[in-house]
């Protein structure tokens, strides 16, 4: 604390700061207070911290950092920040630093035959994409396709991994514009050289119009789907041949292979939306959230099929996700460039608690990071994927790897972002240090 006293008198525009961090071994700096120029920006602070670390550890590779003062990211010069926030520069300022959330690596894009309309990265071993050519694909990594899901006659709009951490066989669900959902079983462990063609073990029919979104229950027993016919259907995923409600149907391909496909009917239908239901999520066992073009987000009780609560936002909504602090914050985006985040625990107000508006076109997807309370990503028709932190109003980083509309995006392995777009590519931006 006293070692920098002499530098204090040198310049009046110096602030005493102490760097703290929650990071581990290589990134720790001594927790003594130092005086630094007040006009430093994030870049200056970052190089300062890097220099401090390097002085202890010669092998250290410089790393971009992000800085938090009182739980808020510094996005201007320190001086301006303190002025804007009304923080006194007299006392020793504690600056927390984290590794900057930005992709360090851009992996090879996975090429598709048509627009990539859906991705799901909830399994750490693989990720799943849906494409406008009606095929679903399972990828082990960049450019490594293991399975091709054949069967849909129209574009796939949404994919969902039902039991992400299943041991051998993984169940996935796909929704398509051909008004059906299909369930697939995959063995992801067996090594493959050629992409394996897989057929659905169950076809779920019942929607009268294009299915827009599918979400699985956490237990994996049920899936729900939202469609253009304004309804949300709930389906069983089990493959037992309960003959009373499941119809077995023989199907002949050519005249050699006989393949059996189950057909399922909707278990329950949730009716209430007046326009296309564009997105559903099933965060907890008993409640489903849905976003619709009728400008509302609804919460449904699974047991009773009742509509529990409504949030009206004034814009047609395209995507929805639940996550963040306590896994209750609702993030939604739609027919305008704004990502809105509601806190349903806040009583008496339906105004969003956060609004992020850096995109320039419709928001096509938004996803919370599954381990962080603050981070979420969004993709937009302007071709950008943005990473957000609730602690700042500006995007943490912008991934501009797509040349056309980004139709879908998701986190994968909690340090990568996968996004598919209308340029028929699936881009993977990896090595994102979200702790």
């Amino acid at each position: 604390m006293n070692m920098n006293e002499e530098s204090d008198e040198a310049s009046a525009r110096r602030i005493q700061v102490r760097f703290v961090t929650k990071l581990n071994a290589p990134f720790i700096v001594p927790s003594t207070a130092i005086a630094i120029p007040a006009d430093l920006t994030r870049f200056g602070l970052s190089s300062l911290v890097n220099a401090l670390i390097q002085s202890n550890d010669a092998d250290y590779q410089p790393e971009p950092f992000d800085f938090l003062i009182d739980g808020e990211f510094v996005r201007m010069s320190l001086e301006q920040f303190l002025l804007a926030k009304g923080i006194s520069a007299e006392r020793i300022l504690e600056i927390e630093y984290t590794r900057a959330v930005a992709p360090r690596k851009e992996e090879d894009p996975c090429l598709h035959d048509d627009w990539v309309s859906a991705v799901d990265g909830s399994s750490s071993r693989f990720f799943l994409t849906g494409c406008y050519d009606g095929l679903g694909r399972v990828w082990k990594g960049a450019g490594l396709c293991t399975h091709v899901l054949e069967g849909h006659s129209d574009a796939i709009t949404s994919v969902s991994i039902i039991n992400p951490e299943g041991l051998e066989t993984v169940t996935v669900a796909t929704a398509s514009k051909d008004r059906t959902l299909r369930l697939w079983k995959l063995n992801t462990e067996e090594p493959v050289n050629q992409p394996m063609r897989v057929r659905a073990y169950k076809i779920l029919r019942g929607h009268k119009s294009a299915v827009q979104s599918v979400a699985a229950q956490t237990s994996g027993e049920m899936v729900c789907s939202a469609a253009w016919d304004c309804t949300i259907n709930l389906w069983q995923t089990n493959d037992f041949n309960a003959e009373d409600d499941l119809v077995s149907k023989k199907r002949k391909i050519g005249d050699q292979v006989e393949d059996s496909q189950l057909e399922g009917e909707a278990f329950t239908t949730l009716v209430g939306h007046t326009q296309c239901v564009s997105s559903v999520v099933w965060p907890q066992r008993e409640s489903i959230f849905s976003a619709s073009w009728d400008h509302s987000i609804r919460k449904w009780d699974v047991e009773t099929g009742k509509n529990l609560s409504d949030i009206f936002c004034g814009k047609a909504l395209n995507c929805l996700d639940i996550g963040g602090e306590g896994s209750v914050l609702i993030a939604a985006g739609g027919s305008d460039p704004v990502i809105r985040i509601w806190d349903p625990r806040k009583p008496g107000t339906s105004a969003p608690v956060f609004q992020f508006a850096s995109h320039t076109s419709w928001v096509s997807a938004c996803k919370w990071h599954d381990q962080s309370w603050f981070h979420l990503l969004s993709s937009s028709y302007d071709g950008k994927v943005m990473l957000w932190d609730l602690r700042t109003a500006w995007p943490l980083s912008v991934i501009e790897s797509h040349s056309d509309k980004v139709l879908s995006a998701d986190w994968w392995r909690s340090d990568s972002v996968i996004s598919g777009g209308a340029d028929s590519r699936l881009c993977i931006s990896s090595d994102i240090p979200v702790k």
């Binding site: 009268k208 326009q275 814009k315 047609a316 027919s335 305008d336 419709w362 028709y381 139709l407």
Partner: protein, 725 residues
């Protein structure tokens, strides 16, 4: 004078007689109570004064009014003089009365017989005698017994009038003064004329001077008529009196005094009152300041640099007056602009308008109607978010499917495309072969049939959307036996032939002229086509289920441009170049003819309520008709500089839009109230830009999303844009 004197007594006689008896005292020397003093003073001046008065009275005939020169002191002397005169004249009581109406004392003394005749001798002589003198017959007048002093004092005390009693030594009696006499005495004591009606300072009349006194023209004496009242005047007076009595002469009301008025008030008001050319006050000049002095303080004088900088300014911006310094008034040159300014002044006067212009001092802002702010009227389309790219030529027409999931577009590159609204993906594409002029999606949500007009054909296309059951229905509907190819009840060549179109798996309706517009009925079975050059068969109504075509059973006047169905009733609108005709299809009669007043109408849209419609025109005007109100436009909106290509109402939101060749689309708020008394509210909301012009054409079509407040625009620049709220 004389005449007056003579006439006066006649009237006064009777009145005077009453006071006369009381005026017993002829010469009561002035004394209220102490008679001694008064008596003595009277005695002193007696002789001299009497002479004066006598000389005067010769001329003035003894009138006391004139003879006031020296006789101010004593009444007694005067009265005694008068007495003498009277006595000297020796006239009777009456004569003296006539002559001396004013000399009361005299007459009063005459009335009472003078008892003592001793004359003006000292009374001392009789002091010791038992008598005081002699009466008129020579008998001695005995002295009265002297009252005891004490008795007399007591008597005086008791008598309230004792103060006005005086003792007359001459006659040896006590006289009581009357009120008038006391007044007179008092006036004398104050050195005033004894009679109150006496004017001490009369105007001097010089009777001995007249105009031609020196050289009289005539020596004729003054005529008598000068001295007698005029008969003519009397008559005139009588006339006036009668007139006044009758009331024919009314006296002027007393002139109203000017009330208080603003001395420094604005006098412009008074000038405006007058009818003639009003005085226009000159504008007030600014008072000169220090800088306009001939010898201003140094800080006012601009430096040479400043003066040079003035030269660089515009002439209007230059300062009008540049202060200059002169050591004395003498050295001030003559005003250099005098000639110029006087010439300009003359010019101003010459060119000055002779009529005062009444300028209305109204804030133009206040004349604007109060419109609600745009924020309150949200949502409405604002920004373009999605573009639908793919056409290779101008997109001429678009149509949105009823649920809002798909959009169809026709282009002059000869293709029809179906797009996914949400993502902008082109789902299907048909090669029609000819430039498409109009596409129209069947309004039924399950009936995914597209009517496309291209050239002389109208194609009914199966879009292939919807599940199998629907597909079967549609296929059935679009199937036609080739044998029943043509159909017309007509006599001449068939106007329409229904054909099977194998290439597109649909129907082809071959018209005999170029079709420009196709419009579905709300129930999805009927649709109408417009052939502007088709004359009497310009507008045809087709029935899909029966594959029937019928022409409109009405005579069309003018060139048909568009047609549309009423959104809820069986009413049909046909828009011709000049007007709009409204037909009732059930009763087959014309309900109304709306006169647009436009040169060339291009498009028509009916409000979902059905009572209002808008017509767009090629000169950029848009007319709003309220059909309940009148057959004339309720409002005419002139916003586009170029042709309006389409106008459209939103089905659920109170919005309407127009698109034009100037590459803009206007969005308006058009609220129609269910209350019939309230006129529709029209508020311009937004100008949507973004399209570029190509071959002089801008936006060719615009359509609202059926459920969202979004607007699709189809441009000649091959793009379709979606504007969202």
């Amino acid at each position: 004078m004389k005449g007056k004197k003579k006439t006066m007594p006649k009237n006064d006689v009777h009145e005077e007689e009453a006071p006369l008896p009381s005026d017993k005292v002829p010469s009561p020397s002035v004394s209220d109570s102490d008679s001694d003093y008064e008596d003595s003073s009277a005695d002193d001046d007696e002789s001299s004064v009497s002479l004066d008065s006598q000389s005067e009275s010769e001329f003035e005939e003894g009138s006391p009014e004139n003879g006031r020169s020296g006789d101010l002191e004593a009444e007694g002397t005067e009265s005694s003089v008068d007495e003498d005169i009277v006595n000297g004249e020796g006239s009777g009581n009456e004569s003296s009365d006539l002559h001396q109406p004013g000399a009361e004392s005299d007459s009063s003394e005459d009335e009472v017989a003078p008892r003592n005749t001793i004359g003006d001798v000292p009374l001392k002589w009789y002091e010791d005698e038992p008598h005081i003198g002699y009466d008129i017959k020579g008998k001695k007048i005995k002295k009265k017994e002297k009252q005891d002093k004490l008795d007399s004092f007591l008597a005086n005390v008791d008598d309230s009038k004792s103060w006005r009693k005086i003792y007359d030594e001459y006659n040896d009696e006590v006289v009581e003064l009357t009120k008038d006499e006391i007044k007179l005495v008092r006036r004398l004591l104050k050195n005033q004329a004894p009679h109150s009606d006496f004017d001490p300072y009369p105007d001097y009349v010089d009777w001995y001077k007249w105009e031609d006194a020196k050289h009289p023209l005539s020596n004729a004496p003054e005529p008598k008529r000068r001295f007698i009242p005029s008969k003519w005047e009397a008559k005139k007076v009588v006339q006036y009196v009668r007139a006044i009595r009758k009331g024919t002469i009314t006296f002027d009301k007393p002139k109203e005094e000017d009330g208080p008025y603003l001395l420094w008030g604005d006098d412009s008001g008074s000038t405006e009152k007058s009818n003639h050319l009003a005085y226009i006050p000159a504008p007030k000049q600014k008072l000169p300041g220090h800088d306009e002095s001939y010898n201003p303080p140094l800080e006012y004088i601009p430096t040479q640099e400043e003066i040079n900088s003035y030269q660089l300014m515009f002439e209007e911006d230059r300062p009008k007056f540049i202060p200059k310094r002169f050591t004395s008034m003498r050295s001030i040159p003559s005003y250099e602009n005098a000639m110029k300014e006087s010439f300009e002044r003359c010019l101003d006067l010459y060119l000055c308008p002779r009529v005062r212009k009444k300028r209305l001092n109204i804030d133009p802002e206040s004349l604007k109607p109060k419109l609600p702010s745009r924020k309150e009227l949200k949502p409405y389309p604002i920004t373009c978010y999605i573009e639908y790219k793919g056409h290779e030529d101008a997109v001429t027409s678009i149509s949105i499917e009823a649920s809002g999931q798909w959009m169809a577009s026709g282009s002059s590159d000869g293709t029809v495309r179906v797009w996914e609204v949400e993502t902008g993906r082109c789902l299907r594409r048909w090669e029609v072969g000819e430039a498409v002029s109009c596409v129209s999606w069947n309004p039924l949500p399950d009936m995914h049939i597209l009517a496309v007009s291209a050239g002389q054909d109208v194609l009914l296309l199966n879009t292939g959307l919807g599940d199998e059951e629907l597909q079967n229905q549609i296929k059935e509907l679009l199937w036609i036996d080739s044998s029943t190819a043509s159909d017309d009840s007509g006599d001449k060549a068939p106007s329409v032939s229904w054909l099977k179109d194998d290439k597109h798996m649909g129907l082809r309706l071959r018209h005999f002229k170029t079709v420009t517009a196709v419009e579905w009925h709300r129930k999805g079975d009927y649709f109408s086509t417009v052939m502007p050059t088709g004359e009497s068969r310009a507008v045809l109504i087709h029935q899909l289920s029966k594959k029937l075509t019928q022409k409109l059973p009405f005579k069309l006047h003018g060139l048909a441009v568009r047609s549309t169905f009423h959104p809820s009733r069986s009413i049909f609108f046909v828009c011709t170049k000049k007007n709009v005709r409204v037909y009732d299809l059930l009763k087959t009669k014309v309900i109304k003819k709306l006169d647009t007043g436009l040169r060339e109408a291009s498009s028509i849209a009916v409000h979902p309520g059905g009572d209002n419609l808008i017509v767009g025109s090629k000169e950029g005007k848009m007319c709003w008709f309220d059909m309940d109100l009148s057959s004339k436009p309720y409002k005419i909106l002139k916003c586009h500089p170029k042709d309006i290509n389409n106008v459209i109402f939103h089905r659920t939101y109170p919005l309407f839009a127009s698109c034009s060749d100037d590459c803009t689309a206007y969005v308006f708020h058009g609220m129609v109230y269910s209350d019939l008394n309230q006129n529709p509210l029209i508020v311009p909301l937004e100008i949507l830009r973004g399209h570029t012009s190509s071959n002089g054409r801008g936006i060719l079509d615009c359509k609202f999303h059926p459920r969202q407040p979004w607007l699709f625009t189809a441009g000649a620049d091959k793009l379709i844009k979606l504007y969202c709220h």
